[in-house]
């Protein structure tokens, strides 16, 4: 029988300190039982110094004081039971059911921290996932097993975009390959969570979704475990049950803020903007759980959503994320303000894995060139727009005027598309050619003569 303790020395934010403790291990889970009500809060040992132990409590620490609670060390790490029955269920951020359903019973338990995948065991992801969204499919192609975040801003339609992807994307190759969705809501508004629930319903996938929800008014320490519970479920379904899993996670910004709050309660030396120096490694311990394994079916495709504070892409949260993930889909406020949906700012957007997943045999032979040319031409549009701000559009050269026209058409026809509209990759590429034809051929230096012969729209 493990020892129980009554004495709490100190409560600082989500942390409590107790002393005179023996025989506990780093990472051990504790139950904190409120004597008067019998209510249990969970916590975890995050530092041991001689006989002093610091515990991070996952629920609200308000009301915790010496004498009113018993601290029980469980002798366990943070494990969750794993089963196919997770699907269709809703849990809180520490993996307890909140849908009035029964507890999950299983002999299989997994530590929510996971372990690093051996790079020798990974399979490099190469399979194109069609999302039906022209900007993404053509220019920042999603690959099965990729971690591709959406960098958004407050008020931008990132939820809609994620929902559209969930609805339109086909994850598996064959009908017999199972797919599923794991959804983690970290510090989100009740409305946002409802929106997703509704869209899963509409997409007819609710019974294939595992949800872990930590609301904006839930305890912040639980935000640390929410994504870990979700990814543990995803790993189980993908790597043990061989399903293709799409993980949608929002909002990483709330996660990082929780990390910062706990770090400051621990009085750690901060690095940029008060975020802890280990935030890179910490985020990597989440993002790197996406991927595929050699010689087996199953994958985790990971779409984290984060809102960039002040739309600043150099803020530590998007910055460190971009350094770890395999690209990013960036939403732009100016496009949004001009009513373009989805407002994908293509220039800063990138899919690092598309190089091996597009082209002959995957999408179409001209894909890489079209994408390159659209990037190059649209980047030139930005320069021409800057110039026209100064000298006026009237005084632009003939070529530059064509760039202006191309830019407008590209945004209105290529980027802009309906929330319910799916375009297949061939349609998207053909549309790309049609728009590029607005420019003089001499400006299209990324296209090879062969592809121009084959695909350049012939004048009517």
């Amino acid at each position: 029988m493990k020892k129980e303790y009554l004495q709490i020395d100190k409560v600082v934010g989500p942390l409590i300190q107790i002393s005179d403790v023996d025989d506990v291990f780093y990472g051990e889970v504790v139950d904190i039982v409120e004597i008067s009500t019998g209510k249990i809060k969970k916590g975890k040992v995050i530092k041991i110094e001689e006989k002093n132990v610091i515990i991070q409590v996952f629920q609200n620490t308000a009301g915790l004081a010496a004498g009113n609670s018993i601290i029980k060390f469980t002798g366990e790490a943070f494990n969750l039971p794993m089963s196919l029955d997770l699907q269709g269920r809703i849990f809180n951020g520490i993996g307890e059911p909140i849908d009035n359903g029964s507890d999950i019973f299983s002999l299989v338990e997994a530590n929510i921290n996971g372990r690093p995948i051996n790079p020798m065991s990974r399979e490099y992801p190469r399979n194109f996932i069609q999302t039906g969204i022209s900007s993404i499919d053509t220019l920042a192609t999603l690959i099965r097993g990729q971690k591709l975040p959406i960098f958004s801003g407050n008020g931008l339609p990132h939820n809609e975009l994620a929902a559209q992807i969930v609805r339109q994307a086909r994850l598996g190759d064959n009908a017999d390959e199972e797919f599923g969705v794991v959804f983690a809501a970290i510090g989100v508004k009740h409305d946002d969570e409802k929106f997703f629930r509704k869209s899963f319903d509409e997409a007819n996938v609710m019974d294939r979704v595992v949800m872990f929800v930590n609301y904006a008014d839930d305890p912040i320490a639980e935000r640390i475990t929410t994504p870990r519970c979700a990814l543990t479920a995803a790993e189980y379904l993908a790597f043990e049950k061989h399903m293709h899993i799409l993980v949608v996670m929002t909002d990483i910004t709330s996660y990082c803020e929780a990390l910062r709050e706990i770090s400051s309660a621990r009085e750690e030396v901060p690095s940029r903007k008060g975020y802890p120096g280990y935030m890179y490694s910490d985020l990597a311990s989440l993002y790197e759980r996406a991927g595929m394994l050699k010689d087996q079916v199953g994958s985790i495709t990971f779409l984290p959503i984060l809102t960039m504070p002040n739309d600043d892409i150099t803020h530590p949260i998007p910055d460190l994320t971009g350094y770890i993930t395999e690209g990013q889909i960036v939403l732009g406020r100016d496009l949004f303000q001009r009513s373009i949906y989805p407002p994908v700012a293509i220039l800063p957007s990138l899919s690092r894995l598309m190089k091996d997943g597009v082209g002959e045999g995957f999408t179409r032979g001209d894909h890489a060139e079209v994408a390159n040319q659209l990037f190059a031409s649209y980047s030139k549009v930005q320069e021409v727009r800057d110039l026209s701000q100064i000298i006026g559009e009237e005084d632009l050269s003939q070529t530059d005027k064509k760039y202006m026209a191309f830019g407008r058409a590209f945004e209105a026809k290529f980027l802009n598309q309906g929330f319910d509209e799916g375009r297949n990759i061939i349609e998207s590429l053909d549309l790309g050619w049609k728009l590029l034809a607005l420019l003089p051929l001499t400006e299209l230096d990324r296209l090879s003569p062969e592809n121009i012969d084959k695909y350049f729209p012939k004048e009517a």
Binding site: P116, I117, G291, G322
Partner: protein, 595 residues
């Protein structure tokens, strides 16, 4: 293989804080000693000793550790086993082969697997090159083993011993643990020489002396080889925000550099990038050996989700392996992607030690650590009298893409080539996104003789001239952004046109195109020379009052933009034809204006 544990007193764990733990009863431990920690025997290293309290950084996940568990000394510092069996393999930050770890645990990397190293069962065919009575100096060669199809492992006498050979085994197959040679030193002590010997990672391996570096590392990348060359034995940094092309550039260098040996360290970066290397490299053929480039490559992987203390060690593991091959007389090139993650690992450990932070939380010793690391590069004469070199190319990942942060700034002080990656170039998909205005190479002067002798008399002056043209273009662009291009005089518009060819046709190099991914120096030079030719012929036209719009022949320009694809790497006759076309076009044009 279990760690050999000395019969010494054991320490007792007294505190645990992530990868940093403290122990008591550690008076007999040594600074930097390797230890095993707890019942799981996690591997760690003593980093602070104060009285009987020691602080240890642990190279594996510490969850599950308890106070009161034992800390066992090993009696030696964190060391590598250096011998055949490293090439073609991938190791973690403390040289444990990931393939062997996979045999123990097929998917995930568990804790407590102990200290594994290169294969000690494999038989290698050894050829002995010494006989009894020979005097063997420290660091000299006593035999050879064909380690891979292209690399011969020259069996080295450890740098710390020397003596007269008293016994040698006959040629034949042996493991790395078999005694091959016995020598007797001046003190009459005998030493047994095996294929492998151990070396502490934090101690640079000795050499006879450093020499000047006079030969470039040829990379097949135009912007590097012609504009910002790296010397063999030199140092280079590749800083850039996320997505600007650090890893791609490092991979290109690992694939195509004309080094004998490549040591590639994935330090705190993506798992998939290491998987990509493992999948792709074996399929790529080295233009020099005709064999797979994997035959000459050693990979070290501490991906971003692996323990952070091992990230700190991975850099030293890599450079020690590089020194080992250098000491055989090879030219080694080492890529570290990314050194910033190593610096951050230092910062994290330092934070847990509650050291006084300097800039942005980094410890005050950051600059000296960076300096020490890059100082392990160099061209040297080995103890055995051969030429060897290590070129170090480090990627730097500045926070927010801002080069004024401590790691970039301090790296800049200690490297000679700076290849600045630029976000706006990357956004426009100008790859490699190496900004030609901000980048520099400190090796132009010392390498100019080499380029003059081996490429062309005017290679460096051509390079300087074209770079100046690009500087001028930059100034002109600023003007264009204010008034539009139409207002500029014709000679300046001609500069803009030529600069565009240089940018799109020359500096941009497509890593995914089978011909453009690696371009021999002759073609690199010939292409630039042809661009210069067009530039100069155009200037003749300008003197005749011909406007730029007439000088710019659409067909010729498009041939220039595409010549990287259309002119084969091994047949440059197309470039002469292009020059002929220029002459034909301009002669007709000039005639019209001459009268």
């Amino acid at each position: 293989m279990a760690v050999k544990e000395e019969n010494k007193e054991k320490g007792i764990i007294s505190a645990i804080n992530g990868p940093v733990i403290k122990g008591k009863n550690m008076t007999t431990f040594k600074m930097r000693e390797m230890v095993t920690v707890g019942e799981q025997r996690l591997i760690g290293e003593v980093i602070v000793l104060e009285g009987d309290v020691g602080t240890i950084q642990v190279y594996e996940e510490t969850e599950g550790l308890k106070t009161g568990e034992e800390i066992t000394p090993t009696g030696r510092p964190l060391s590598l086993k250096l011998g055949p069996g490293m090439l073609k393999n991938m190791f973690d930050g403390i040289q444990r082969p990931l393939e062997k770890i996979q045999e123990i645990s097929p998917i995930f990397i568990p804790e407590g697997i102990g200290l594994l190293s290169i294969d000690d069962k494999k038989l290698w065919p050894a050829v002995m090159t010494v006989k009894p009575g020979d005097v063997l100096l420290a660091g000299s060669i006593f035999g050879t083993v064909q380690e891979t199809e292209v690399i011969q492992n020259r069996l080295l006498v450890p740098p710390t011993v020397s003596g007269t050979v008293i016994d040698v085994v006959p040629d034949g197959s042996y493991t790395i643990e078999d005694v091959l040679v016995t020598i007797r030193d001046a003190k009459n002590e005998t030493h047994e020489l095996k294929m492998a010997h151990e070396w502490p990672v934090r101690t640079p391996r000795p050499n006879a002396y450093r020499r000047e570096t006079l030969v470039p590392l040829i990379t097949g990348q135009r912007v590097i080889d012609i504009f910002f060359p790296i010397a063999k034995g030199g140092t280079a940094a590749i800083p850039g925000g996320f997505g600007t092309g650090k890893t791609m550039t490092q991979h290109q260098l690992a694939k195509w550099s004309d080094a004998d040996i490549i040591v590639y360290i994935g330090c705190g970066e993506r798992g998939n990038e290491m998987t990509e290397v493992i999948e792709d490299f074996p399929k790529l053929i080295d233009p020099r050996s005709g064999k797979s480039i994997m035959e000459r490559t050693v990979l070290i992987a501490n991906t971003s989700n692996m323990p952070v203390a091992a990230r700190e060690a991975s850099i030293y593991t890599g450079v020690t392996i590089a020194e080992y091959y250098r000491d055989m007389g090879y030219a080694v090139a080492m890529m570290a992607d990314s050194t910033s993650r190593w610096a951050e690992a230092l910062r994290e450990i330092s934070g847990r030690l509650e050291e006084m932070p300097a800039e942005e939380g980094y410890p005050a010793y950051l600059p000296s650590r960076i300096a020490e690391f890059y100082e392990r590069a160099g061209s040297i004469e080995t103890l055995g009298g051969d030429d060897g070199s290590i070129t170090i190319i480090g990627a730097v990942s500045p926070a927010g893409g801002d080069f004024s942060e401590p790691v970039t700034e301090n790296t800049k002080r200690f490297v000679n080539v700076f290849l600045a990656l630029d976000k706006s170039l990357a956004y426009a998909r100008h790859y490699p996104a190496i900004n030609w205005l901000e980048s520099y190479s400190g090796y132009i002067k010392i390498l100019s003789d080499w380029y003059e002798d081996n490429v062309a008399e005017d290679c460096i002056s051509l390079r300087n001239k074209m770079l100046e043209l690009m500087y001028e273009e930059n100034k002109l662009q600023e003007m264009v952004m204010l008034v539009g291009e139409d207002v500029l005089p014709d000679d300046q518009r001609w500069v803009l046109e030529i600069a565009k060819i240089i940018k799109v046709g020359y500096l941009q190099q497509n890593a995914y195109n089978k011909d453009d991914t690696y371009v021999p120096l002759e073609k690199q030079y010939a292409m630039l020379k042809a661009i210069e030719y067009l530039y100069e012929r155009g200037r003749e036209g300008l003197k005749l009052g011909i406007p730029t719009s007439r000088l710019k022949n659409v067909d010729i320009f498009s041939q220039f933009i595409k010549m990287k694809y259309t002119i084969p790497n091994d047949d440059l006759s197309g470039i002469d034809k292009l020059k002929d076309e220029i002459d034909q076009y301009f002669e007709v044009l000039f005639k019209k204006y001459e009268n």
